[in-house]
Symmetry: C2
Subunit: 456 residues, 2 copies
């Protein structure tokens, strides 16, 4: 057999670790469904021609080829018929909405948790295969602005239920930014946004120079842009500071109102997790309203763990346009960090709550009967795979951190069943039709590991 | 925008239909975990050299290529470094077990529900992308035979909880078959098995001729083989019939004992779903003990919906061999049939239980407050996207089959909140801190559709 080795960029979890990933997925789904979002999945492939329409990402696409495709001349000659693996869930959503528009009810509240693939160099800690978890509301022709707060509330609730250190969602609004730059007299608002997007990397001085060389600003305008980008408030007071910097006009006021509404709405549901941060630019051209980035306390180097915003034109055809607002979590990166930084651990390695021991193979049927009775009441069980010495059976449980071992009694010896908590050694008489584990042991729990804040 | 169209062989569900697929996945996971199986996922890709080692399937592999791979000479020149999408979950399991053997506890009880890809011609109703759901127990060097019953019990419980018409698991045992053919004096047991595998397609006469031309049987031996393959019993009585046909020997008796144990064990957990069917051959060479196929009543043309068995050598290296026993459901095919034959339907199209209406935008915050209170008690809600006329808001709910619409009261008018069941029109006063929907409306349920048996 060939040498077996891990593939760089394709993460894979052990069973105990996978429970953490599954927990994050479960929490995402539970909260999304609580807010009336429907889960969908799209096929993993899209026509290559659709995937490469956004120039910046084309080098990262994996193209598919049937191993024996050469036997069928012409099959892969037409690039519109070539297939590639999706690299995000937004391109597929746009295609799904157009393809199924007659069968969908709008506004569509959808979440989607699927793997995506990018042929990036894995050296710098990036994954080539990873889970993305998206949440979007898509309207047909119209999409009220208050739905921008709606998706932020759902995402804040999801993040607050995950085993994470503190997080902060930084929100801004494109109308606010563009309105401000315009009211300063700067016409090329895109150039200003692209420069401010680099601010954390290049610093204020370099940004000021760039604003003057690339965005047509004079020194005073550049300073005002940097002052603007320095505004960060937990409440609606950002508005007066923007106006004090000379911001005015209809578009700016619309952006202020929308951002204030998002802050208020999220604050009512999950207090203390969102700030207005006017430095948030988000590079992508298609955002047109609220934009979000999310940072984890003590893990700044991770970058934004959850980003998104409002886009007026997710998709369009001759009849309709489809505006949307959405947020996306890079789920695998987050899970990878939870695992590598030991932010959380599962209460046990396997789903099993009780290992039912077998004293001799002839009595296996009795052990299976006990397991059946426990399972009928929702208690996860397995029966010992062999009638080994009891010490070995207990080690089987211990190795997997199964909390309880059940010892079937012996009728001939007049001894009843007993169950042992192998963490404490406590052993008590038990009846399979009534015994109940403590509530916290019934299912695997993912426990946050309390630790002092650490620098990176 | 380019023409949007469905890709043949890549199924995709609407939100309401996806709930059925999710339900099948949930049931599989719940039952597997109840039996102490750990969920794992493996990466979607394996080295091409590993995927094509089984000759029969190599033409179906999708090979990956980075779009700009040509920029890096040598990247795809080495076939052992080329990657392909996995076409099943068994090849990845074998690799996962070898790669992680030092970190896994054996016997490993694992389930795995993931998409797989096969570049088959989609014309004949086959999918190119589909979910497979696997359940295996893998031992290190040893795997007790009673675990063959264990996986069958779990699978029978899973299938019995799904919204399916009656199903029957047909079980046989390789030792029983090979022991019988050997005791008849037929040395090439593989040839006999391959012929019997074709029996349903070619019929008894052609099978008899093939047994004589290909497997070295005389007319009497061929007749005995066909008699053997005709044995189908719901209990252990198959054993005497095999012996009456001249079957004898240690291997045969071992096979009889194992098959009888599987029948008994499954019968105790899920009575009436399993038969011993000695025609079951399963083409694949690697089975060495119990083999299973499963058929759906009234849907014979679907073929086996759940197959598998015991294999002594899932994987091996210089130190260890890894025997296993497993079963696999072609989940997407099953879900596709449930949907197309309308075997089940979701109780509503979306997770939402209550639509909270909005009488005017100025009072949206009150509607959100109600929704928050309901969600805090686990009731899925959405707030109406706009303060449209009430009739339109009710249609929003009706279109999605959301059962309840909540009408916030007006304090100024002294009117309290009310909630309407839009299926019956019944409307009652309600308080968001105490109102509870009927238990059957709390979550979406997948309801089997009762219908008379239909031919195909």
């Amino acid at each position: 057999m060939a040498k077996i080795s891990a593939l760089s960029g394709f993460p894979e979890w052990l069973p105990a670790q996978r429970q953490i990933e599954q927990h994050v997925i479960d929490v995402f789904r539970e909260v999304a469904e609580l807010h009336g979002f429907s889960g969908i999945e799209t096929r993993a492939v899209e026509p290559l021609s659709e995937l490469v329409r956004k120039g910046e990402i084309d080098k990262e696409v994996y193209v598919l080829r049937r191993l024996h495709a050469s036997e069928e001349p012409g099959e892969s000659a037409d690039p519109s018929r070539q297939l590639g693996l999706h690299f995000d869930l937004t391109v597929p959503l746009a295609r799904y909405v157009l393809e199924h528009q007659n069968d969908l009810a709008f506004p569509l509240r959808r979440f989607q948790i699927q793997k995506v693939w990018r042929g990036e160099r894995p050296q710098d800690g990036r994954f080539r295969e990873f889970y993305q978890a998206d949440l979007d509301i898509v309207g047909q022709d119209v999409l009220p602005a208050h739905l921008e707060a709606d998706v932020a509330v759902v995402m804040a609730e999801i993040l607050s239920r995950l085993p994470l250190p503190g997080f902060t969602i930084h929100a801004n609004n494109r109308k606010l930014s563009e309105g401000f730059f315009t009211s300063l007299g700067l016409a090329d608002t895109g150039a200003v946004l692209r420069t401010l997007d680099k601010l954390p990397k290049i610093g204020a001085e370099a940004a000021s120079r760039l604003l003057q060389s690339e965005a047509g600003a004079d020194a005073q305008q550049a300073a005002a842009c940097l002052d603007f980008a320095g505004i960060r408030t937990a409440d609606g007071s950002f508005a007066d500071r923007v106006r004090a910097l000379g911001g005015q006009g209809e578009m700016l006021e619309e952006g202020i109102a929308e951002l204030a509404a998002v802050l208020e709405s999220v604050g009512r549901s999950v207090p203390g997790v969102m700030v207005a941060d006017l430095s948030i630019a988000r590079g992508l051209d298609y955002y047109t309203g609220t934009v979000f980035e999310t940072f984890l306390e003590g893990h700044a180097a991770l970058g934004s763990i959850c980003s998104g915003g409002r886009y007026d034109r997710l998709a369009a055809d001759n009849r309709h346009s489809y505006p949307g607002v959405g947020l996306s979590i890079g789920l695998s990166r987050l899970v990878s960090r939870i695992i590598s930084a030991e932010l959380a651990r599962p209460s046990r390695d396997v789903p099993t709550c009780v290992l039912v021991s077998v004293s001799q193979e002839a009595e296996r049927a009795r052990s299976e009967e006990i397991a059946r009775a426990l399972r009928a009441r929702g208690i996860s069980c397995e029966v010992a795979p062999s009638a080994a010495k009891l010490g070995k059976q207990i080690r089987h449980a211990d190795k997997r951190r199964i909390p309880f071992v059940w010892f079937p009694g012996s009728i001939s010896e007049g001894a009843g069943d007993e169950v042992r908590d192998i963490r404490t050694g406590e052993q008590v008489p038990a009846d399979e039709s009534t015994w109940q584990p403590p509530a916290e042991d019934l299912h695997v729990r993912i426990l946050p590991v309390a630790k002092a804040a650490e620098g990176e």
